[in-house]
């Protein structure tokens, strides 16, 4: 069940990336986007290792644009997070945000990695940053719920009036 959740969550994390909404191939041949597109798709369907491999190929063998590179790094962050490797994921998100500080998905992916590490304050901070950029992000709401379940202590005060 955890795998299914991670699969679904990872698909949210990489949903609607530049390559998932397929761009015009005639303008991107040679820029590595086909590898990045394939990597994005693989991560979305849960083939994390394959997705990581293809994404690295797209980043190292070609010269993607800054925006493509930021998105690819964010996808690597998501994939490693989905694999339960937050220490590997976080640097990819850091690099992605250094390129594009408005990438709300990178904030959300890094928040998930921090959540895995139990660093709930940092996770909440990144989630707030993601929500500030895109308040309607479904995964932001979902991750916030996960953080609240772990990080909030419920109590009920009862009093009888007899």
């Amino acid at each position: 069940m955890r795998r299914n959740f991670l699969l679904g969550f990872a698909s949210y994390l990489v949903a609607s990336t530049v390559w998932a909404q397929q761009a015009d191939n005639r303008t991107i041949i040679g820029s590595g986007n086909e590898f990045l597109s394939a990597g994005s798709y693989a991560i979305r369907v849960g083939q994390y290792d394959e997705g990581i491999r293809l994404t690295h190929l797209g980043l190292t063998r070609y010269q993607p644009s800054d925006s493509d590179r930021a998105a690819a790094l964010s996808n690597l962050c998501a994939a490693h997070g989905a694999k339960g490797e937050p220490d590997i994921a976080i640097p990819f998100c850091d690099e992605s945000l250094n390129i594009n500080a408005r990438n709300w998905r990178a904030y959300s992916n890094r928040a998930y990695a921090y959540f895995l590490k139990g660093m709930l304050s940092k996770a909440t901070f990144d989630l707030d940053s993601a929500a500030a950029i895109n308040s309607d992000g479904k995964q932001v709401t979902q991750l916030r719920g996960m953080i609240n379940e772990v990080g909030l202590r419920p109590r009920v005060i009862m009093e009888d009036h007899l």
Binding site: N148, G151, L152, P154, R155, M158, D160, H161, L162
Partner: protein, 231 residues
């Protein structure tokens, strides 16, 4: 004493002003044993309220001995299914919807807000209240004691969405200590309804078999749902 007896045996009848309870509405005329809650200085107050056909309203404290006396309140009035009256001494304005299962609602002052909940007083209770100070009459007012207070489970979705809230349910307790006729007086968020009701109906009070006591006794319970950060 004659005046007290007269009030104590007041019967429900047609109001002189011609007001009559519509179908489905509670007729407030008569005597009610009530609990008032929410005043930080006074705590929970057990009183007897009397709404006479001539619109006069009287209040007396329950549990007192022969020194008890009725105090007059404002005239009661009904507007669009809502009963209202006030107490000039305390500055409290009382309101109640007559659509409920029994008489009860909220009271307000400039700075405070609370609630009140009543059960219809039986003739036996009326007589015992106005009887002379005897050991039997004072022992007939046995306080309600909680035997089982079930704790509600904080709804999971409320935790996920960081929702806090407050619920107040008023109800009646029978002689076996079982809870009947729950009604929500305050419900800050629907998400807390089921958990609060389940907890209340799982609660019990100690039985109170005493000669002359009323069949049902009013009570209210408040639930305050809070979330604390653990990080």
């Amino acid at each position: 004493m004659a005046f007290l007896l007269l009030v104590g045996s007041a019967e429900v009848g047609p109001a002189q002003e011609g007001w009559s309870a519509d179908e489905g509405l509670i007729d407030p005329r008569g005597t009610w044993t009530c609990v008032l809650y929410g005043n930080p200085a006074l705590g929970d107050e057990r009183v007897v309220l009397s709404f006479a056909p001539d619109r006069s309203t009287l209040v007396a404290k329950r549990g007192e001995t022969a020194a008890r006396s009725w105090m007059p309140l404002s005239q009661w009035r009904v507007e669009e299914e809502n009963l209202s009256f006030s107490d000039s001494r305390s500055g409290r304005e009382f309101q109640a919807s007559l659509r409920r299962s029994t008489l009860g609602g909220e009271w307000r002052t400039l700075n405070l807000r609370g609630g009140w909940w009543c059960s219809a007083a039986t003739e036996e209770v009326d007589l015992s209240i106005f009887a002379a100070d005897t050991e039997e009459s004072s022992s007939s007012l046995v306080p309600l004691v909680t035997a089982v207070m079930a704790t509600p489970a904080y709804p999971r979705q409320a935790i996920r969405e960081a929702i806090e809230g407050r619920v107040v349910i008023c109800f009646e307790v029978d002689r076996n200590g079982e809870v009947h006729n729950p009604e929500f007086i305050e419900l800050s968020n629907e998400i807390f309804r089921a958990a609060s009701l389940d907890a209340l109906m799982g609660s019990r009070y100690q039985p109170w078999f005493k000669r002359g006591d009323e069949v049902l006794r009013p009570a209210c319970r408040s639930f305050v749902y809070r979330l604390d950060y653990a990080f």
